[in-house]
Amino acid sequence: MSDRSLLTFFDHFKNLEWQMIDDMLEENFKYELHWSGMTFDKNDFLTLVKVTAEEVQPWSTNFEILNEVQFGNVTVIQLVKQGPDKEPPTFELMISEWVGSKVKRMSVYHCQKIDTEVSNEWIESFRKD
């Protein structure tokens, strides 16, 4: 695993190891949670993930990493999170920028999984044209 892999970051998240996550983040770290239009600094981010995982949405630690790409000072990771009850899974793409061995920015995009039948019909419509 290279120095700029985020796989360990997500292992720490699943294991609720907040100090280990804290150690990976630069002091001026910014977390952009795009769907909310909000940007969090390091302290607010740590509070957010802790409260989310331990109290508000414990299912948020139930995810699978689909792909990780590293280039330059960037790591792009794709993951899928299972939703609560019968809600569809959510896909996330996280673009992380590093300074040395610390993460300075995480930019998080997310979208819902579309019903497979609906997806198939849409893709099939292009094959017929």
Binding site: W35, G37, G72, V74, L93, E97, S119
Partner: protein
């Protein structure tokens, strides 16, 4: 040309709908992965059909490239735009219907596009499109939980 230059050129051609020139950048077995849509779309002709069908929708007049990060083989674009519907006009979640108040006439989207290059040919495009919810929705569905 570096991946940065190739990616800038590709994005320019895509936005200007110059399909003949754009096609030259695509590998024969290119994959288009739209996160949330399963399966992925493969092959130059199929991918081109999808890009063409949604060119005007995907890039609105005010689409802004916020950031481009790239090196030899990869590039990732981060875009902002105001649109009536999703990037590439792909299907939207059921609960986005106007009655539920999520999808409006015009919506603010943030979009990431990851490009994977090899020998000056594009092997893979991965896109994800995120609707930025209005503050009242965020207050109701997010902040109130904490």
């Amino acid at each position: 040309m570096t991946a940065t230059e190739l990616s800038k050129k590709l994005m320019q051609l895509w936005q200007m709908a110059e399909w003949d020139s754009l096609e030259e950048f695509l590998s024969e077995d290119i994959e288009l992965i739209i996160l949330g849509i399963d399966p992925c779309i493969t092959g130059k002709n199929n991918v081109l059909k999808v890009l063409k069908s949604a060119a005007k929708t995907s890039f609105s007049y005010d689409t802004k490239i916020n950031k481009l990060l790239a090196d030899e083989n990869y590039a990732v674009f981060q875009l902002d735009s105001n649109r009536p519907t999703s990037f590439l006009k792909s299907p939207i979640p059921k609960n986005w219907s106007k009655e539920d108040g999520i999808l409006r006439e015009i919506n603010f989207f943030k979009t990431a596009i990851l490009l994977e290059w090899n020998s000056k040919k594009l092997l893979k495009i991965t896109t994800i499109d995120t609707i930025v919810h209005p503050p009242e929705h965020v207050t109701e569905n997010f902040i109130s939980q904490y």
